[in-house]
C-alpha cells in the first residue's frame, strides 16, 4: 500500500469515526507490509537455487562432511544417534538413493571409478511446485516469493501430511524434545519443540543479513553454488549454461531447484 493511500485511509477513518478508530485504522493500514526494516545487506534473490558440483567434491579431503556439519550447528540440529528419530536437513547418500530409478551398471561404474564412489548431497529441493505446500492443512509450510519453501514452527500441528507428500524424504518430525540433544546451541537460530516438522530452509535467516547459506560457506572446494536463477549473470546460471546437470525425480512435476553436475 503506498503512502498517499495509507494517509487517505487514515484521514477518512479519523473523520468518520473520530479518534477512537485509530487503532483499527492502524491495524488495517499496517496489514499492507512488514513493520520492520530490511537489513540493507540482505540478499534479494527472485528465485534461489543451488548447483551441486560432484567434480569439485572429488578434490575434498577423505570423508569430508563440512557442509553437513556446518548446517547442523547453524540450525541447532539435534543428534539422536538413531535413524528412527533422526533429523537431517542436508545429508550424504549414494547415487542409487539420491536418484532412484536412474541407476544402471554403467553409471554405477562411472560413479565408482570417475567419481571415486563419493556420496551425493541431498536436501530440500525448494520445489517450484512443492507438494508439501499443497497438502499442509494450516499453511505452516509455504513458498516464499523468492522460491524458498519455508516452515512456520509455531503453526505446524505435526500432522506429517507433508512428510508423506515430499518425494525426496526432505522432511523431519521432532519425535521428542530435541533440545537435550543439541550439542552446542547457536543463539542466532531458534530451537524447535517436539511435535513439529522441520527441513532445510536455504538459510533464509542468513540471506536476510547478507550471508550465504552455511553449507555453501563451509565448502572449501566451492562444490556448492548458490544463487538467483532470475539473474542471467549469476554463477548458478553460468554453470547451468555451460555444464549438463540433472535433478532428482524431475518427472514428478515438482520442479526441484537443486541441480547436480556429475
Amino acid at each position: 500500500m503506498d503512502d498517499t493511500r495509507r494517509s487517505f485511509l487514515k484521514i477518512a477513518g479519523l473523520s468518520m469515526l473520530g479518534f477512537g478508530a485509530k487503532p483499527v485504522v492502524d491495524a488495517v493500514a499496517g496489514a499492507g507490509g512488514p513493520k520492520f526494516e530490511k537489513d540493507p545487506k540482505a540478499f534479494n534473490g527472485k528465485r534461489w537455487a543451488m548447483v551441486v558440483d560432484q567434480q569439485k567434491c572429488l578434490k575434498a579431503k577423505d570423508g569430508c562432511k563440512d557442509c553437513v556439519l556446518a548446517c547442523n550447528s547453524a540450525h541447532n540440529i539435534p543428534s539422536f544417534n538413531n535413524p528412527k528419530d533422526e533429523i537431517k536437513w542436508i545429508w550424504q547418500t549414494s547415487f542409487e538413493h539420491a536418484f532412484p530409478g536412474q541407476e544402471n551398471p554403467y553409471i554405477n561404474d562411472y560413479i565408482k571409478t570417475s567419481l571415486k564412489g563419493l556420496p551425493f548431497l541431498v536436501l530440500c529441493n525448494h520445489c517450484d511446485n512443492p507438494p508439501c505446500v499443497r497438502v499442509c492443512p494450516v499453511q505452516a509450510t509455504f513458498r516464499r516469493p523468492d522460491g524458498i519453501v519455508a516452515m512456520d514452527y509455531h503453526r505446524c500441528i505435526g500432522c506429517r501430511f507433508c512428510m508423506a507428500a515430499c518425494p525426496y524424504g526432505a522432511r523431519n518430525l521432532n519425535w521428542s524434545d530435541p533440545r537435550p540433544f543439541i550439542k552446542k546451541e547457536n543463539p542466532e537460530y531458534p530451537t524447535r519443540t517436539r511435535g513439529v516438522v522441520e527441513k532445510c530452509n536455504f538459510c533464509s535467516e542468513l540471506l536476510a543479513v547478507g550471508k550465504l547459506p552455511a553449507c555453501v560457506e563451509a565448502c572449501k572446494e566451492k562444490a556448492l553454488v548458490f544463487g538467483d536463477l532470475e539473474d542471467p549473470n549469476s554463477e548458478v546460471r553460468e554453470l547451468l549454461r555451460t555444464r549438463p546437470t540433472i535433478q532428482r525425480k524431475p518427472q514428478l512435476g515438482t520442479r526441484p531447484q537443486i541441480y547436480y553436475i556429475l
Binding site: 492443512p137 505446524c156 506429517r160 508423506a164 517436539r194 512435476g253
Partner: protein
Amino acid sequence: MLEKALRGNKSYFAWIGFLLILVGMGFGFYLRQLGFGLGVTGMSRDVSWGLYIGQFTFLVGVAASAVMLVLPYYLHNYKVFGKITILGEFLAVAAVTMCLSFIVVDLGRPDRAFNVLLYPTPNSVLFWDMVVLNGYLFLNIFVGWTVLEAEAKSVPPPKWIKPFIYLSIPWAVSIHTVTAFLYAGLPGRGFWLSAIMAPRFLGSAFAAGPALLILICLFLRKYTKFDAGWEAIQSLAKIVTYAMILSVFFVLCELFTVFYSQIPEHMYHFLYLFVGLHGHTGMMPWMWASTILAAIALIVLINPKTRNSPGTLAIGCAAVFFSLWIEKGITLVITGYIPSPLETITEYHPTLTEIGIVVGVWALGFLIMSVLYKVALTVKTESA
C-alpha cells in the same frame, strides 16, 4: 432419552465397566505420549504414519457404510431395514468419533489442532477431510436422534428431517472419497498413486461396515430381545458379498497394472507386501492373513447355503471384517512408506504404548456405540 442407557442388567454394566477401564488405560498411555512426544510410538522418519492413521482410514469406511442402510430404507422405501437403520447411523457416530480421536492422537501438536480452523486451507485434502468428517458426525447424530425421538413418542419423524437424510447419502460417499484422496494425490508414493484408490476404499467400506453390523445383529438376536429380522440380515449379507467381491476385484486391478507395467516405484511396494523386499518381510504375514481371510469370506458368502445359516454367516462376516481391517488398518498405510522415496527400507513395529492408545480409542468407540444402541434398542422394544 439418554437416561435409558442408565438402566440395564448386570452384563450390560459389566461390559460398560470393562470398556471404561480400557478407555482409562488408553488415556493413561496417551498421557505418556503427550509428555514425551510421538517418539513413544514405532513411527519413524521414514514411516511417519502408522497404526493411528491406519485405524482412522479403516474406520472412515465403517462410518461411511451406514449409507448401505439409509439409502435402501429412505430412498427405495425398503421397509425391511426399518428396524436397523438407526443401528447403522449410530455405528457411524461411533466410528467417526474414533476417526477424529485417531487424528488427534496422531498429531505432533494436538494443542494446535484448531489451527485447521484458524487458517482454513482449501488446497489441503486434510482440511476437507476434517470438514466432511465433522459434517458427517453431525448429520448422523442429528438424524438418528430425531428419528428415534419421534419413535419414542410414537409419532412419525418430522418432515424437515428428510433433506438431512438425503444429504447424508452423498455425504457418506464423500467422507471415504476424500480420505482416499489423502493418499491418491501424492506424487512420490507409488503405492498410493492410483486412481482406483477411492473406488477401492468404498468397496471395502461397504463390505466391512455391514459385516460388522451383521455380527452385531446376530449377537443381539441371540442374547437380547431385539431381533433385526432374518430378511434384513440376509439383505445385508448380500450387500457384504457384492461389496467384498468388488473390493477384491479392485485389488486385482491394482495388481495387474503394477505387475504388467513393471514400473519399479510402484512394484517395489507390492513386492514388499506379498513376498518381502531385500529380505524385509514385515508386512508379509499380515498381507497373507488378509488374503486367506478374504478367500474364506468369499467362499462362505457366495455359497447361498453357508450365507443363509447364522453360524457360517458369522464366520464369513468376521472373515470380511478382519481381512479388511488388516488391509486398510495396517498394510495400506505402512506399505506406502516402504520402501521410502530414497528407496531405503525402514520397517515399522508399533510399541506397547501405541497399541494401548489404539485399544483405548477402539474401546471409546465401542462405549459410544453400546450406549447409543442401548438407548435405541430400549426405545424399539418399548414401542414395539
